[in-house]
Symmetry: C2
Subunit: 355 residues, 2 copies
């Protein structure tokens, strides 16, 4: 998932960097006392956390400040917690997807696979060393996401709510990952309803709903407003995912930074595919989609069928529709104007990328 600069820079973003920097500095010190190898694993984890757009912390901070919160140190801890959660999910997701590269550079598994190969290990064994390092590094990121929340200065009731929100993010994301596995067991294109449910589980909850709700809860927002931000996040996340899947097939590689036929080759289940799977055109492409042998010419052919069948237009319309739904939730009187002004463009920008 590539989230570009959908959000202006909120106050407190530097503090998020400070929290992460201090956390890793302290962790490196501890790890060094175990040995240079463990220190190296922590350095790798730190590198995986560096350089992101901090989209989730931005949402936390925006919701927090624009709902009247002033303890930026605490909000930064919550933001950093979601960032570490994001790192954990990415690392374990790559293990599950057997990916060794992310955004053109070796990920945790890729780095340790290379070390294992240099040590003379056979390919399959080296792969497994890579996965194993990924499992451990992800565990460290996951557990420390909880740890950072503990340090937030607030009352016990707010603390409990923050932990519940983080928990919901873990629960939903694990469900989404599990459903991916299930799909590999029974390869078929699921109905649209299931695809949107999966988008919510894998994208909305931890990337949109959770950060917004956590920021709001920390600022002392009442439940109806927190629910309303959750509704916005759910629909914005779904819009984002549909648009992202469109970009994965039709986007220019130079803009998305990834090949635009990887998704076709792996048979990724998207709204686009679900639409065409229900139509006669599916017969023409079903043997190509999800085939590891797919060529660039095959991909072009599939894209043309998706275009001609109306699947592309349908999906683009669906993304626009979910973005409008998201924006409509913000029309509630509960949402203060400043926050509405910041979040409206998030929903729109998610979709505009596909134009």
């Amino acid at each position: 998932m590539n989230i570009d600069d959908l959000l202006v820079e909120p106050e407190g973003l530097e503090q998020v960097e400070d929290v992460l920097r201090c956390f890793f500095e302290r962790s490196r010190q501890r790890a060094a006392s175990v040995g240079p190898g463990y220190l190296g694993l922590w350095e790798t984890l730190e590198a995986c956390t560096a350089g992101g757009k901090r989209f989730r912390p931005r949402l936390v901070l925006s919701a927090y400040s624009l709902l009247g919160g002033t303890d930026l140190a605490s909000a930064a801890l919550v933001g950093a917690s979601f960032e570490l959660l994001h790192t954990a999910f990415i690392i374990h997701d790559d293990v599950i997807d057997r990916d060794f590269v992310r955004r053109g550079v070796p990920n945790v598994s890729g780095r340790y696979r290379a070390i294992a190969r240099d040590a003379g290990m056979a390919p399959a064994a080296a792969d497994h060393i890579g996965f194993s390092a990924g499992v451990i590094a992800g565990d460290l990121a996951l557990s420390n996401a909880y740890r950072l929340l503990d340090r937030v200065h607030t009352g016990p009731a707010t603390h409990r709510r923050l932990n519940e929100i983080l928990d919901e993010a873990v629960f939903a994301s694990a469900a989404g990952e599990y459903l991916d596995i299930e799909a590999m067991l029974a390869p078929r294109m699921p109905p649209l309803e299931d695809i949107l449910h999966m988008a919510r589980l894998k994208t909305s909850v931890y990337s949109f709903e959770g950060p917004l709700q956590a920021g709001a809860v920390l600022a002392g927002a009442e439940d109806p407003l927190v629910d309303c931000l959750g509704d916005f996040g759910r629909d914005a996340g779904i819009a984002f995912q549909i648009a992202d899947d469109l970009l994965g097939v039709f986007g220019s590689e130079s803009r998305t930074g990834k090949t635009n036929w990887g998704d076709l080759r792996e048979g990724k289940r998207t709204a686009l595919m679900s639409f065409v799977a229900d139509r006669p055109e599916w017969e023409e492409i079903s043997s190509l989609v999800g085939s590891p042998a797919m060529s660039a010419a095959d991909a072009d052919y599939v894209r043309r069928v998706l275009e001609d069948s109306g699947a592309r237009e349908y999906s683009a319309g669906l993304a626009v529709d979910y973005a409008s739904r998201a924006r409509r939730h913000l029309d509630s009187d509960l949402v203060p104007r400043g926050l509405r002004d910041v979040l409206q463009p998030v929903a729109s920008a998610a979709v505009d990328r596909t134009r």
Copy 2:
């Protein structure tokens, strides 16, 4: 690691079962709303947590009650937290070790590998489905270990200490897992010092030190006593691990429930092996130890060499030595008699199993 009934049944053990039962009941309900597959994953996780000896909760509860604690509901939450942590480590450890069976029954990876095979998947792909399910299930257990601690009724300072203790357990165990990986990259028998350090990281911290210290902290114990229990746990854990490794090579299979040449075949780094690796006898067995082709006759030969070289006797003596060190920590005036009486036999029993 097999820990038998080293500890009498402390008060509160049933509450630990209640906590776990309620936690899984609620989780199953939530998972069912996602779908039957995710529910199945949770049921598998619950099955992995069932039927253990609850050694770590027993330590938590013993320390807590014998240091004057009376809020058994809170102590049970701490105990259940360590039990879930144990489940998480076992599941991810099995992924890393590529094990599909634990104690004679399929583990998480084994169950999902079987499902994938039944669905017609190729062997390597089915293995990876198994590992992936293991990664997700372990993540759920790990994150919920933190969640259970949140529900403990106590002040913020104690809360922070409990979280630090859990964190230390995760940090040390991850380090131990990492060092196992490192060992695969550079197969050599490390010096005894490293082996004992690894035993501490992998066994002492989360199975002995953490539970005892958490129980003590919850009961309001002062730092010197908490430190003293940590010292006991460290040495008792090391004694336990040395003894366990002896059982893994010389134990009767009917008693340990596992083959007594698996450790030899995988070249497990133990005090036993470290001793012989420094002596001329090593040449006779170094090509056998760690060889996947090792036969039962080879194993018998290696055992004889370990016996004749004095490695067995040396290791047994080392275990006895660490058990005495552990007991000596309990001689401190800080440790109340009731707790000493319960913990002394733990250190002794760990070693007696090898007699």
